[in-house]
Amino acid sequence: MISQDDMKLFVSETEELILKTEGEILKIEQNPKALKPIQNLFYTFHTLKGLTAMAGFNNASKFCHYFEAFLQNIKDNQDSVHMSDVIINMLFESLEVLRSVLKNARTGDMTDIDQSLLLDLRDSLDSFDSSSDMSFIKHIQPDKFSDILNDKSNNFYKVYIRLQSTCVFKKVRLFIIFRALTEKGQICWGVPDPESLERGDIINDFEIYYISHSKNDEIVKNLNEILEIENKVIKKLDNKEFEGLLNEFDLKWTRILERETPKRSKELYHVESEEEEEFIDGENETISHVFEDYSDEGTKISSVKVDVDILEKLMNHFGEIVILKNQLTRILKERQDRVLGTVVNNMEKPFLDIQELIFGLKLVRVETTFVKYKRLIRDVAKETGKKIRFVLEGINVEIDRKILEELNSPLVHLLRNAVYHGIESPKLRMKKTKNQIGLLRLKTYRSAGSIYVEVTDDGQGIDYDSVKDILVNKGLFSKEEVEQLNTNVLNQYILQPGFTTLSGANMISGRGIGLAIVADKIRDLGGSLRIHSEKDVGTTFTLIVPFSRAILKAQLFNVAGELFAIPIEYIETIFQFKQEKAEYIDDTLYYKHNSNLIPAIQLERHFQFNAISNEDLRLHSKSQVAILCKKDDMNSAIFIVDDLMQQTDIVVKPFKSNYSDSRDILGSTILDDGSVCLILDVLTIITQMKFEQLNFK
């Protein structure tokens, strides 16, 4: 009925709306009395109602309608409903229901929300409204006590009922029982409690307190007509007794109502300070502003939605043209055609402009993914009973869409770890004289050609003593040696792929499993992972990823007749290789550069193009060029190659090979003349060299 394209549009629009809705619910949770989020929520459910109806999901539309009406009620009568935990959770769950419909819709499956779920929802929403007449158990106000107690025809009972163990539909069963009793009297309290009883939330038995003109045997007769009752006991109570009970019930009713009012600042796991609220509002005001523009019907179309697939194709085609342009340039240089040369030169500027624009298209704000983490942290904090203040910084930073997607699972892993294992429980934090509320910060910024994403917690930090123990236990170091290792080195070990298997489960207070996977993922992206941690102060994981990896400037060079490339951004300096400056210390090759001994690697040997022994190396004169590459302040390496070629723009095709699990290759590229060139992953090579150096015994 609805075209595939339209369905795609429906899915993406609805997803956006659901995300926005989630944000509003979170806001309500932090401040249940705030009017604006409730209004926004009302509006989004209204829009969702329309969207789902248009797409043909009638039950989903009714679903949204119930919420819309519910929220309208809250909007208009502020006192009729208290935004309790139960309601908040129900709102979140409703989003999941809608998301599941979307999930089906994406594959063309038009399965709508189940009819019974719809009715369940309507009943639940009704039951929250204290002004509705659904409840059988009534709160009797103190001013009515004397009338009731003095009325001679009133009898007071405590009724105990046990249901048959085979009873499944407890809510309906209780409905039928309460209905029957309410026809002949009034129920004024129940055990376990009125709310649970209305929901059918009992194990098997319950008690109710009943006021009625009926006699004992009449009540029995009434209940005899109802199925699934295993046992019933009706006890008559005298006035004095019941008077006391009525007072007790009144107290309990009042407490229930109080519990649902927003005095929850003490129970919140988010801090509710004015300052912070404003800060977050500031960020979110920006989002909602953009969104309102978008949903404003009939306005100018200032933006279009583009399918990501189309962007990818555009990117690829453009990449191919860049290669062709380079070819053209090279040929023209050889032919020395002035006229054509000028034309091609003039192409340079528009090309750069298009390149920039296309890059811009592929960029998204990290916000789109990072705001979702708010919900994640909320849920994990709730699950672990921790108090967390979650701060997002730099959400405006733009990053390649693909890279952002790849960053998601590592970040989720790190964020969860921070809550599970990093940040201590409020009790423990208090003992350590820390703020009970732990800080978890996700900060994004750009520097040089890279994006930095920091996950910081002020928790217990990495237990380096445990790390040292593990290294000793695994025989890598002796007790004395391991004490000599500084934290940087220890961090390297934590991230090594082999480390988790070395230590087994549960190392560094639970972190470790998956950290290696995180490090791998980042490496695959052409990035790196840094750890900074201090005991009881906290831990920061810094993910550094290239801003965009599609088109790079690289230095081409020759090793044993094969072409390789290194991205310019990693190259410090290039100089002539001088034999005498190379020396072996403990079987590791070093090169003396500006009075520093830097680890070096003979690429011909590394790639084993020829079998070269150490002695041959000293005599080997083919290598002419040394390239100094820097990973960070602590880690550099010198790559010894045969010949230097040109610097050029290359289009990187990421390397995923079935034939080799070489970690040294970042990707490949096709040059002007059609030849294939492999791009070195210098960061990985440098890291590996360091590791071997430390490991070497």
Binding site: S116, L117, L119, D123, R179, E225, I226, L227
Partner: protein, 124 residues
């Protein structure tokens, strides 16, 4: 004679279920099936014609479902005694039917003893 036997109208869109119910009810001493309806519309017609003591009502039926039919029957006769015959997992629908006036409910698969209980306790 059959003086205490309740007159039952069985409403279900599946003949198999109708037969099964009919057999069980007719075997008991307490009830006899005087008519069968295969959908809600038939149910309303037959009810008005025959005024049974008890109606067993299936929930999910074509054209007019159990909830709507219950509502209609209660409108015609507020004292109509309707027992919902439901499948597992239909609690919300059963509750809805109860709110519309159904007296009680049983779940499939049921034992003959349960039907007897219904006839004894509930019907009129």
């Amino acid at each position: 004679m059959t003086k205490n036997k309740k007159k039952v109208l069985v409403v279900d869109d599946a003949q198999f279920t109708r037969n099964m119910l009919k057999n069980i009810i007719n075997k008991t001493d307490f009830g006899e099936v005087i008519a069968e309806a295969k959908n809600g519309v038939e149910a309303v017609e037959l009810y008005q014609k025959l005024k049974p003591d008890l109606v067993t009502m299936d929930l999910v039926m074509p054209e007019q479902g159990g909830i709507e039919t219950t509502e209609k029957l209660i409108n015609i006769d507020p004292n109509a005694i309707i027992v919902i015959v439901s499948a597992l997992g239909q609690e919300a629908l059963v509750l809805e039917a109860a709110k519309k006036g159904a007296k009680d409910f049983i779940q499939k698969p049921f034992k003959p003893a349960q039907i007897e209980e219904v006839l004894e306790r509930i019907a009129g």
